[in-house]
Symmetry: D2
């Protein structure tokens, strides 16, 4: 593991898309994710990292996907495949249970919730970069869903924009091992300075 | 293959990093790329697509990686792993043959060369998006190197920024089949509206 | 007046901050604006341009300032003066009448409302640029409030991002002639390709 | 003057467009600027601030306008008025004396020179934001040319992107008092947390 250190003042936890549709029994995509998610204890790990970050006093940021609303895409000239999927499944539909955050991950009063993102990166076309800068954050610890789309995209953008990223590899999930592998083993190690386990990051945070 | 069409006025070819260091015998990374690149005829395919695009009258854009200069990274607080690699290998060193474009791909007078990018995406921290807009481009056909880093990053950013993307799957290369697969089969199909062969795109362009 | 033309498919009307706090009797800033706004018939002109744009079939976009919510700024390292003012006045407070759009300007079903902006530019840290691109828009007709802050900022950003801008000079207002002059006569003419009257733009739109 | 403090590690000097064409006898725009520039000692002040910043050990960043090259604008769909002016005057022409930096302001080995900007803001479509972040900079002291275009635009963008800005009001110049006033008295005070004299900033820097 690379020599990454975390200082409270400049490090934040970034939680990506903890929606019921992804990680709750009955969510629209849970059946496709649960094979991996249950095998690696994704949801309990996400919660452990969140609680450890809160206990240490890190600022918590949320990057949330656009909640589907009727009329979102009908007038667009181009709709990327990943957006077509969101459109056809009405993923995270606004005003429905699936578009709500799973209760244990509900943002608390001092957490920062960035504007919803339209594609996969939490940074693209949102105020996430601004809000991180306004809080003096230079280092991000990333957890959430799903590994090869929103998580990888957000990690890639974070690196492009100058942040130092730590990916928690067992606090994410994906549809299959193939996609999980592409994200965690092939791509993210080029952009995240550390790829660690929940156990490792909790230990690092406990020492702050 | 999806039903993607190309109109001359709004479609451009985007050529990513055709540096000697990547695709010329003797280049710093050629030995790592040539297994894939020779197997899929990457360089001849890139050239065929470039020539077909020129013949059809598409505008050609270049997204080029930062050519290494001494002092580039020493003072940075955070250097992403992919940048550390560029730093240690002095890839595309400014003023050296490796940092020159392979001659057949040399930009011509009416081509548009965007500013160099520091990480992987041709869009991040450059004028590529501006220059595409200034020329009325909404659709991109993408060729170049290397599949899972700069190419995938640029395709992802293009989709995030609203472009419709076509990836030419045998006009790119990578270090191994694993990375090639992660880029072309797992990730890029979520962001590119079409993933086509050189043969297919040349046929499409010939009919314009 | 420069030779600017408008084609329906690529031209949009951009309405900036038509909040009660700005342009309705009883709004927090109305008393400071009404001198100019009544003298130039700002609100009736805004409405005339909006109606003309709807009649012509232009797409309508809204750029709206962040509605003040408790806790917005307390944790920020730096708060720009214009944000300090918004903070101290609780301008456009979320959930209050002042933070509602003046009824005649309420977005209609096919209008596009961009994410709220934190400072002055409707483009900075929002999805406005994406949504314009997704609708194929290259030309913007701009109306709204207030001239030397959000309007000028949005016009400047639009030009930086590659749009062609038309400013409707009597469909905006400001605190004083000094600020109105700085925006409309000194700065905006460098970034907007045309600065026209309500009468002129309505005539142009009627001919489409 | 607001209560702005400067800490060496997070404060940088940003020098905007110190080209011969602007501030050297014989430069294309010097005759239009020299009335103001000589009255407020703009160039000596710029140099004093630069030297004070170097002595204190602040990092120096340069935001430089696109040096005109033949073919820059011919193929653009839209050219903003400020770009049309640059085009017709061939301002800062690449390879000419006018497009060189005035010798006293020549970047030194540890200075950071951002990519050239196409319109007015040093941030738009460049790597300036990235390079500031990579060096941990949160506060900017701004000097350079010209007040109501590139300087004001860069100050506005800096505020939008989350930086704290100090404007040095007598280390800039403009074509006339009207434009100088619009920039320094009407607009910049909304975005810069401090607007100070050369004397004041040198005193502040001396105490670090």
């Amino acid at each position: 593991m690379p020599n990454v250190t975390y200082e409270k003042e400049i490090t934040a936890l970034l939680v990506i898309d903890p929606y019921n549709d992804f990680i709750s029994e009955g969510g629209k995509l849970w059946d496709r994710l649960k094979g991996i998610a249950e095998a690696n204890n994704c949801v309990p790990h996400m919660l452990q990292v969140l609680n450890a970050a809160r206990k240490t006093g890190l600022r918590i940021f949320y990057a949330l996907h656009r909640r589907y609303r009727r009329g979102d895409y009908e007038t667009w000239k181009y709709v990327a495949p990943v957006q077509k999927a969101a459109w056809s499944h009405k993923t995270f539909e606004y005003g429905t249970w699936g578009g709500e955050i799973r209760p244990e991950f509900e943002p608390q009063p001092n957490d920062i919730v960035a504007q919803e993102h339209w594609c996969s990166s939490g940074f693209a076309n949102t105020d996430l970069d601004l809000l991180l800068k306004k809080h003096g954050i230079g280092k991000l610890i990333v957890i959430g869903l799903i590994a090869h789309t929103c998580v990888e995209a957000t990690v890639r953008f974070a690196a492009e924009l100058g942040y130092e990223v730590t990916m928690v590899k067992d606090a994410t999930a994906d549809y299959s091992e193939v996609e999980m592998h592409a994200a965690l083993d092939v791509n993210i190690p080029n952009y995240a300075s550390a790829v660690v386990s929940t156990h490792e990051i909790i230990e690092s945070l406990a020492s702050l």
